[in-house]
């Protein structure tokens, strides 16, 4: 197992001039493999499912997604070579950029389907809330590290939650509820990993439950609409899927039909649900339904296994990181991946509400793909630095 990072480095027994494999291979190959595997799944699925979406241009979505994934991969490898620890000193700039970019979208943004989430740039429309996930992970990790001596204090918990809540509220105002929830999940996971007391954590959970009840039930009953009505409908539609098949429950019903009809090995080119426009957003939020219909239990299972690999690898990086900053970044990335995968897949199979989160690396969209790649690039950097530090230490101690 020369590639496994947790093994005591065998290189330490090698002669001194031997360059450790970890330094020769500047990235975690398993992580890279899972990432590239998901990218390929995405392109293959898009190529099949969206062939009829744009008449005369069957490869419209798959070609573009290929470019986004390519750009993302390059960005990932570049990030892998940067020492993430240096990013800590830019924490204020990073947090500032996060707030500014989100506010810029609210100010200059381009609205699609009633929501202002993106700024149109020459090549693609920039969705600040996606890149914001990576920026928030960096800023929060730095904030927690700064308070490392005081991790269990209530002050730390409150500051971290507020630092996440401010951008989350701006993002929800766009309205992009899904990304706002991802932000809060990131903050929660960081506190959890950093060792915040169970009392604080359970208080936070109670607060979330109470505010959910307030936003979804109590406030609308009193005539105050915190969320847009369509958001509340989407969030609660999964509780009663057949009550209004034409409206909010419709998407989920269609999604289940698509996935279910894929059976064991999928319908391939006979797929008619996701490719004929019965299921809206089948190339973005509902791409997992397209996978399930076209490639069946086998295809959906393969994609899930790749995600399991990705997440287990992220957890591995969390544990092996050379310092707390690295662990926390890895925790944030893990939170982002886990939350998005579980909520998105759960939504397509009808066990989670429609919250509007993308499936990382699979859903069509440049901002989402490239931001996820950057996050994985950070994991790579942590992995590389951990390996390098371990190898160096081994050598120093030998002398």
């Amino acid at each position: 197992m020369p590639l496994s990072p947790i093994q005591p480095p065998e290189e330490s027994q090698a002669p001194a001039p031997h360059v450790p494999l970890a330094l020769r291979l500047p990235f975690d190959p398993v992580l890279a493999l899972a990432t590239i595997g998901l990218g390929i799944c995405s392109i293959v699925t898009l190529a099949g499912a969206t062939a009829k979406d744009i008449p005369g241009d069957p490869h419209y979505y798959s070609d573009r997604q290929g470019i986004y994934l390519g750009v993302g991969l390059v960005a990932m490898f570049v990030f892998a070579r940067i020492d993430y620890a240096r990013l800590r000193s830019y924490k204020n700039a990073v947090y500032g950029a996060l707030l500014l970019s989100i506010l810029a979208v609210l100010g200059l943004g381009h609205s699609a389907k009633g929501a202002t989430r993106a700024i149109n740039l020459p090549l693609f429309s920039f969705q600040a809330s996606e890149l914001g996930k990576v920026l928030l992970i960096l800023a929060l990790a730095a904030l927690v590290v700064d308070r490392a001596r005081d991790l269990r204090s209530r002050d730390t918990t409150v500051r971290v939650m507020i630092a996440a809540l401010v951008p989350a509220l701006f993002v929800v105002a766009q309205p992009d509820l899904g990304s706002g929830l991802v932000y809060m999940a990131i903050a929660f996971m960081m506190l959890f990993v950093a060792g915040t007391s169970w009392r604080h954590l359970s208080a936070l959970v109670a607060l979330v439950l109470a505010s959910a009840v307030f936003v979804l039930a109590a406030a609308p009953a009193a005539g105050v609409h915190v969320l847009q009505p369509f958001q509340v409908q989407r969030l609660t539609a999964f509780l009663h899927p057949s009550s209004n098949p034409q409206k909010q429950g419709y998407q989920q019903q269609e999604s289940k039909i698509a996935i279910g009809s894929g059976q064991k090995t999928g319908r391939g080119e006979n797929s008619n649900q996701t490719s004929n426009g019965f299921l809206p957003e089948s190339h973005t939020d509902f791409i997992f339904a397209a996978v399930g219909e076209r490639y069946g239990f086998v295809g959906a299972g393969l994609v899930l296994l790749l995600y399991a690999l990705l997440i287990s690898r992220a957890l591995r990086v969390l544990v092996m990181a050379k310092d707390l900053f690295g662990s926390l970044i890895a925790a944030g990335v893990t939170a982002m991946l886990m939350f998005q995968v579980f909520v998105n897949v759960g939504m397509t199979i009808g066990i989670m509400p429609i919250a509007g989160v993308t499936l990382p690396l699979m859903s069509y969209g440049g901002s989402s793909v490239i931001s996820t790649m950057l996050a994985i690039g950070l994991l790579q950097s942590i992995w590389v630095q951990a390996r390098a530090s371990a190898a160096l230490k081994g050598r120093v101690l030998r002398h």
Binding site: P55, G260, G262, N272, K322, F342, I349
Partner: protein
């Protein structure tokens, strides 16, 4: 390995939180649990219930297309249709069934591409505009800014790309179809491409009303026109054209703003809904519920009509009106006759309105406004010029305004009964007291004179109403001013100067000027002058002036700043008549046009109940004198409208009428007539006004007689009165 203990390969530069490994393990377990749930769910959906979902997926190859519901009819009080629906045959094209469908598809794809490009360019202009604004603050009149604003302001129209010359079969088909429909082949092609872009699976409607000839022709030659369908659709029809057009309203596709209104909750985009008038007010009953036709989507994703049973639309309900169709027709004719007569006498008579209602319950029997328009014109989009013409401007009166409920007029002497009631009840004068001697009344520096400087001598109340002595009422107004706003209060009490509550989307509330009103106007004027930095906003000419006795004197004869409309005056006269036949207690009715909602097949769904707004109490002795004055004015020699009613059977159907002549600076006088006909079984109140129509007796009063003649089945005769009173 050296002798030194192997070290942990971790750098403890910062304390690793205690128990982190345990917490990471918890995360791991959560992840495993989630993956397990998802796998089991997938197993359940795909492997255990897969077949059931395959079945659902195969039946799910259908698309739902709405079938518009026929709109409910409007019927007159006898059940005769006033507005109905006509079945027309629409010619449609199913793009996928055309010869060389791929060519059309490619054309549509290219068009869509152009559309997207245009939208992107438009959007980029918007972004550039924002950037420019941010980088060049305070340059309001920069030329670049103007250019960007123009580019960002509207989406450019995108032309449909030409049909390739190689598509010989489609071209031939379109040419032949164009010949049948009298349309250019290019127009048909454009509609097909635009329609495909708008709604992918639906057949595209090429022509909504192709006519019977086309139906037979195409019906017999179905196989010569592949991809061409004929579909019966229902179209709104207004068989009586301009008749009561403002009240009836018209229909159009629901607009973006309307979709957001509560009144249109649950209405799908593209539905035809009422715009204006009764069509709007009673839309939720009239519009019905669209049905759904299911179409099978074939492998290319286009719809083919199939045998699946459509769910039929639910026709809208009928609205039975209080209007009487014969009376409505004759009333409109009478108004036109009066206008013609006035024009023959060199009066411009540019516009007019009338309303006839049953004073007991407020049922409107006929109502109309001139100039009118044909609502059928709205079935096609109007050009800007056409719309402008309908809206009117400057000297050309607008056609769309319903002057009966939205006119804003002083009423002239038709207001005098209100003044008289107010003054008598307040004890301003006794009915016998002789007032108004001389040609004019002088108050401080102003002189208030009778029309034509006529002299009626000092007369009592009944005589003053009969001959319409202005000096009498000027004097009453002068005295009443000392008693406070008693005339104003009486006007409001009887129903003038407030919304009548008629079942129409808009009505003018009216203005009864008094001291407070004047002060508010002054304030508004001063505020406007301050804010707009202009010498005068036109609300009040002299914002320093106060309410004067002169203002009250003008109001007493229905002049000055008084603004009301024929409907409010008709309500006031109804209130007087109700109190008159009821010993002094009278209902202020709520005028209305809707009588009942019926099933399309005829059964009653709901009768519309419009109870009186309130009851008022008037002194019966005073009221009797006022009514006596009105009756003498219309019946005995020397009365202002007695000549008009010459030969009328006053014993069976006594007429209580008042002429009015409202003066406008720089324009011909406005002719008014208000009357109550006290038929014991079928009482009627009529209000008529003709803008720039001259004296009340010469134009409005004869129109009222024509309307009454139709109602009571008398022979019609237009008798212009010679009374030249105001």
């Amino acid at each position: 390995m050296s002798a030194i203990e192997p070290v942990r390969p971790r750098d403890p530069r910062l304390p690793v939180p205690p128990g982190m490994a345990m917490r990471v393990a918890i995360i791991g377990f959560v992840a495993i649990a989630f993956f397990a749930v998802i796998f089991f769910r997938l197993w359940y959906l795909q492997v255990l219930s897969g077949e059931q979902y395959v079945h659902l997926a195969n039946t799910n190859q259908r698309r739902d297309l709405p079938i518009p519901a026929p709109r409910g009819e409007m019927l007159d009080r006898e059940g005769k249709p006033v507005v109905d629906d006509r079945t027309a045959n629409a010619v449609q094209i199913v793009p996928s069934a055309l010869p060389e469908a791929a060519v059309i598809t490619a054309q549509a794809a290219l068009y869509q591409k152009h559309l997207v490009e245009a939208a992107e360019a438009h959007h980029a202009a918007g972004v550039a505009l924002n950037v420019f604004r941010a980088t060049h603050p305070g340059q309001a009149d920069h030329r670049e800014l103007e250019r960007l604003q123009a580019a960002a302001a509207r989406l450019p129209t995108v032309p449909v790309p030409p049909l390739p010359a190689s598509a010989v079969h489609v071209r031939r088909l379109l040419t032949r179809l164009g010949g049948v429909l009298a349309m250019r082949p290019r127009t048909i092609d454009e509609r097909v491409v635009r329609g495909m872009t708008a709604l992918v699976y639906a057949p595209v409607t090429i022509r909504t009303d192709a006519g019977l000839g086309v139906r037979t022709y195409l019906g017999e030659r179905g196989n010569e026109f592949p991809g061409v369908l004929q579909q019966p659709i229902s179209l709104r029809e207004y068989p009586y054209g301009e008749m009561a057009a403002q009240v009836i309203g018209h229909v159009d596709q629901i607009s973006g703003e309307e979709l957001k209104l509560k009144a249109f909750h649950g209405v799908e985009q593209g539905t035809i809904v009422g715009q204006e008038g009764l069509e709007y007010y009673y839309d939720r009953y009239l519009r019905g519920k669209p049905g759904v036709s299911k179409v099978e989507v074939n492998a290319e994703g286009y719809a083919v009509p199939d045998a699946l049973k459509p769910s039929p639309p639910q026709a809208g309900r009928s609205l039975k009106l209080t209007l009487s169709l014969p009376l409505q027709k004759e009333s409109e004719k009478a108004l036109l006759e009066g206008i013609d007569h006035a024009r023959a006498g060199n009066k411009p008579a540019v516009a007019g309105a009338f309303v006839a209602l049953d004073p007991r319950n407020g049922s409107v029997l006929s109502i109309g406004s001139y100039p009118s328009f044909n609502p059928n014109r709205f079935s096609k989009p109007l050009t800007k010029a056409e719309y402008k013409e309908l809206e009117g401007s400057g000297s050309a009166p607008g056609h769309l305004v319903d002057r009966a409920v939205n006119g804003q007029y002083p009423t002239g002497s038709t207001f005098k009964p209100i003044t008289a009631m107010a003054a008598l009840e307040a004890g301003v004068m006794s009915p016998e007291e002789g007032l108004g001697a001389g040609k004019c009344i002088a108050v401080s520096t102003q002189k208030f004179c009778n029309a034509g400087e006529a002299e009626y001598g000092a007369v009592g109340l009944v005589q003053a109403l009969k001959v319409s002595s202005d000096t009498y009422f000027f004097e009453v107004g002068e005295r009443a001013n000392a008693h406070g706003p008693i005339i104003q209060r009486m006007a409001h009490k009887l129903g003038v100067g407030e919304e009548t509550g008629i079942d129409l989307p808009s009505e003018f509330p009216g203005v009864i000027p008094d001291k407070e009103w004047r002060e508010e106007q002054n304030k508004a004027e001063l505020k406007c002058e301050r804010e707009e930095h202009v010498p005068n906003c036109g609300i009040v000419e002299e914002p320093t002036g106060t309410w004067t006795v002169g203002n009250n004197m003008n109001l007493a004869v229905g002049q000055g700043e008084l603004l009301t409309d024929p409907l409010q005056m008709a309500v006031a006269y109804s209130t007087l008549s109700n109190a008159f036949v009821n010993g002094g207690t009278g209902a202020v009715v709520r005028p209305h046009l809707g009588a009942e909602i019926d099933e399309p097949t005829g059964g009653l769904v709901q009768s519309l109940d419009y109870p009186p707004r309130r009851k008022v109490h008037l002194n019966y002795n005073d009221l009797s004198l006022v009514m006596q004055g009105l009756h003498e004015a219309a019946s005995s020699t020397g009365g202002t409208s007695a000549e008009v009613w010459a030969g009328w059977d006053q014993s069976a159907d006594p007429v209580y009428g008042k002429t009015g002549t409202a003066q406008h600076t720089g324009r011909e006088d406005q002719s008014w007539y208000l009357c109550y006909i006290g038929d014991p079984k079928h009482p009627l109140v009529i209000a008529v006004t003709v803008e720039e129509g001259g004296f009340g007796a010469e134009t409005a009063a004869p129109i009222a007689r024509l309307i009454a003649s139709e109602y009571y089945g008398k022979s019609k005769k237009f008798v212009a009165g010679s009374s030249q009173t105001l």
